[in-house]
Structure formats: structure tokens, C-alpha cells
Amino acid sequence: MTHTLPPLPYAYDALEPVISKQIMELHHQKHHQTYVNNLNAALSSQVGATQANDVPTLISLQQKIRFNGGGHINHSLFWKNLTPPGTPGNDLAGAAPSLKEAIVSRWGSEDAFKKAFGAALLGIQGSGWGWLVSTGGPKSRLDITTTKDQDPVSAEDVPVFGVDMWEHAYYLQYLNNKAGYIEGIWKIINWAEAEKRYTAGVENPVKL
């Protein structure tokens, strides 16, 4: 069994004007697909190396699995935690009452949270992701965290939502204006999905 590219839950142009059709097509069909392909290749090499009891090869494959498996996990989570602007899912109060309450109690206000989240995103030095996580399991303490390159969030934490800060996620549209991309992303966060993850956790996002 091999991993396959999950379909997007919306059309390529559905996130416009925040994220262009061109970016979404490249990001999904090329970037995400490459992570899937490279993950499958690494996992298949791992099967051979396991059968051959080839420990040096097994060790050398771990970073490939981490990077490409992380890329597959992160993008699979990301597509689902976005929604076209102006849809019901994009309304924090309406779609995510418990999460909203937890955010306000943790950061004081929705705006203060967004500000802190944006600052964390801007502080990433290189490629990476910003996440809102529920630490240790669902309905727990919320935290803002960043992961480098394609590292996924810690296995025990629940990724409530993530924002891709690789340049390929925004460059064709926003160039070096990262702040513009971050400002736009709030218009397409899928708070309904975030509420679901916050209250019930996330099952293996790349389950076969």
C-alpha cells in the first residue's frame, strides 16, 4: 500500500483572492505530490533494508521519512484547515465556540492571539510552519509553536491548525511581503475544522 495525494476539499481557485489558483495548483499537484512520492520511495527502501537487516541504510532513511512524511502530514492537515473566504467555517465565533473561549482565556482576545501567532510566523528563520496546538491532547492548554522545514508537531500535541511559511506557499503572490500573506490567511482559516481537532483530537492524518 502506498500513500496517495489527498484531493483538496475545495477547488484550486476557491481560496482566492487570499491564495491564487496558480499557487494552490503548484502547491498541491507538485510540492505535496513530491513529498508523497519521496515518502513512498523511502518507505519502500525501508522494507528492503529491514528484510536485509541493513541497519546503516535504515538509519540513513530516517531523515528522508521525517522530511517527506512530515511534508505529507503537514500539507494534509493544512488543506483541511483552510476554507474559502466568507464560508460558515471561517467564522470563529459561529464555528468554534469552545476553541474561541479557550483562545480568549489564553491570550486575552482573538486579536491578541492573532498578533502573537503572526509574530511567531514572522520569526521563522528559513522554511517552516506555524501551529496552534492543544498540548498533550484535545481540550488542553493551547500553545503557539513553530516547526522547521517539514517537521510535524510533537506526536502528543493536537495540531489545531497550521500555516505553511515555506516561500512556495505565498511567493508568487506576495513576494517578500510575508506579513501580507499572514494577514490574508485569517480570512481562510477553517475554524470548524479547528474546533473539531481541538475538541476531539486528530486521527492519523495520512492513514492508509
Binding site: 522545514d149 517539514q150 516561500e167 508568487l172 517578500n176
Partner: protein
């Protein structure tokens, strides 16, 4: 169009630089103790078709300039912390200085190791450097293949460098994450920027095409000078 951008950029930059001196990378310039964005020795459009004028302009005026500004800010904060004897703050500034200072160093070296074809870009190295490459990698083509493989293997943002080991004088290919600069045991000879901003507008996800095309505009004369 690119020539106009380049000329106006040069005038603007020169007017801001009261003094300049050379240190490390030949193009590192300072005005009143602050790092400044170095001038390019060619027009923004001069590296086309390998790298478009638009990429060069954004990369130089926006990306590189942000590293310069952020580095200066971090150094100001460092000086203030030193003045106050605040060791904790000095230590906490280390990642910012590494990242933004590294970005400034790396890009300064990068611009210098590129040249338009009309100014010798892509012309193979000669002399001692050519000999070292042949002895180490078999041929220039084999060396380029190995660099391209190293570039393709970078997981995230980063750079690939041809470096010289200060202890043994030997050359090797090394990759560095994000803006980590080539310092310490190794000396930077030739750097290739593998951040997505370096190629995405022209090549999108087809980074292998960028890595292939950039050899057309490598300034081997600069690399030879750094090697000797």
C-alpha cells in the same frame, strides 16, 4: 527596464555610504559602522535568462536589504546589552546575528560569484582551482553534478558551497541550513542560494532547472581569487 532599476539603485545606495572598506567578502561595505547593502557589479537583468531581472531586483533590494537592516538592529541591541553588561540578552541575540549576519555575508559572496555571460559568466575555471576540481571530482562536469545533487538534497532553505578547508587546503562541497554562514574551519569559495525566493518566480518547483542554469552565470574568476 532592468538597467534603469539597477542604475537608480546604485545612485540611491552610493548616496547613503559615506565610507566603505573591505573586509572578508570583498563587497562588504559599511557606513558609520553599519552594514550597508552592497552594490551589484552588473544590472539586474544581466543574468537573464538564467535568473530574471525581477528575481534579482527583489532578491537584492528586498531580501538582502532586510538581512542588512535586521543585522544592524541586532548589533545595536548587542552593543546596548554589552554596555549594560547584560549577558543573557547578548546570548539571546546570537540566533538573530547568525541568521541576519549570515544572510548578509552569504548574499554578498553570492552576488560576487555571479557574472553575466558577457563578462565571463560560465567560463570554466583555470589554473590551480581547475586542477583542484579535476583532482577532487574528476572533471568540472562531475563537480557540477555533485553540487546539483547536494542542492537538490537540501531539506528546507539553505545554501550549497564549494569550500576550502583552512587546515588542509582541500576543497569540498558542503550544504548549510537557512542562512548559516561558512565560518570556522572552512572558507567560502562559491555559493549557490537554494532558498525558494532565489528561483521560484522563474522556475517554481522545477528547482533542478535553476541549479542547471546557474552554471551559465558563475563567475569563476571570483572563485579562483578566493581559492588563491
Amino acid at each position: 527596464m532592468a538597467a534603469v532599476f539597477a542604475n537608480s539603485a546604485r545612485v540611491a545606495l552610493r548616496s547613503g555610504a559615506s565610507t566603505s572598506f573591505k573586509a572578508g567578502a570583498a563587497g562588504l561595505t559599511f557606513a558609520r559602522g553599519k552594514a550597508t547593502l552592497p552594490d551589484l557589479s552588473y544590472d539586474y537583468g544581466a543574468l537573464e535568462p538564467s535568473i530574471s531581472g525581477k528575481i534579482m531586483e527583489l532578491h537584492h533590494k528586498n531580501h538582502h536589504n532586510t538581512y542588512v537592516n535586521s543585522y544592524n538592529t541586532a548589533v545595536e541591541q548587542l552593543q546596548e546589552a554589552q554596555h549594560k553588561g547584560d549577558i543573557a540578552t547578548q546570548i539571546s541575540l546570537k540566533p538573530a546575528i547568525n541568521f541576519h549576519g549570515g544572510g548578509h555575508l552569504n548574499h554578498t559572496l553570492f552576488w560576487e560569484n555571479l557574472a553575466p555571460k558577457s563578462a565571463g559568466g560560465g567560463e570554466p575555471p583555470s589554473g590551480a582551482l581547475a586542477k583542484a576540481i579535476d583532482e577532487t571530482y574528476g572533471s568540472l562536469g562531475e563537480f557540477q553534478n555533485k553540487v546539483n545533487t547536494a542542492l537538490a538534497g537540501i531539506q528546507g532553505s539553505g545554501w550549497a558551497w564549494l569550500v576550502k578547508d583552512k587546515q588542509t587546503g582541500q576543497i569540498s562541497i558542503r550544504t548549510y541550513a537557512n542562512q548559516d554562514p561558512v565560518v570556522g574551519q572552512f572558507e567560502p569559495l562559491l555559493g549557490i542560494d537554494a532558498w525558494e525566493h532565489a528561483y521560484y518566480l522563474d522556475y517554481q518547483n522545477r528547482k533542478a532547472e535553476y541549479f542547471k542554469a546557474i552554471w551559465e552565470v558563475i563567475n569563476w574568476k571570483t572563485v579562483e581569487k578566493r581559492f588563491s
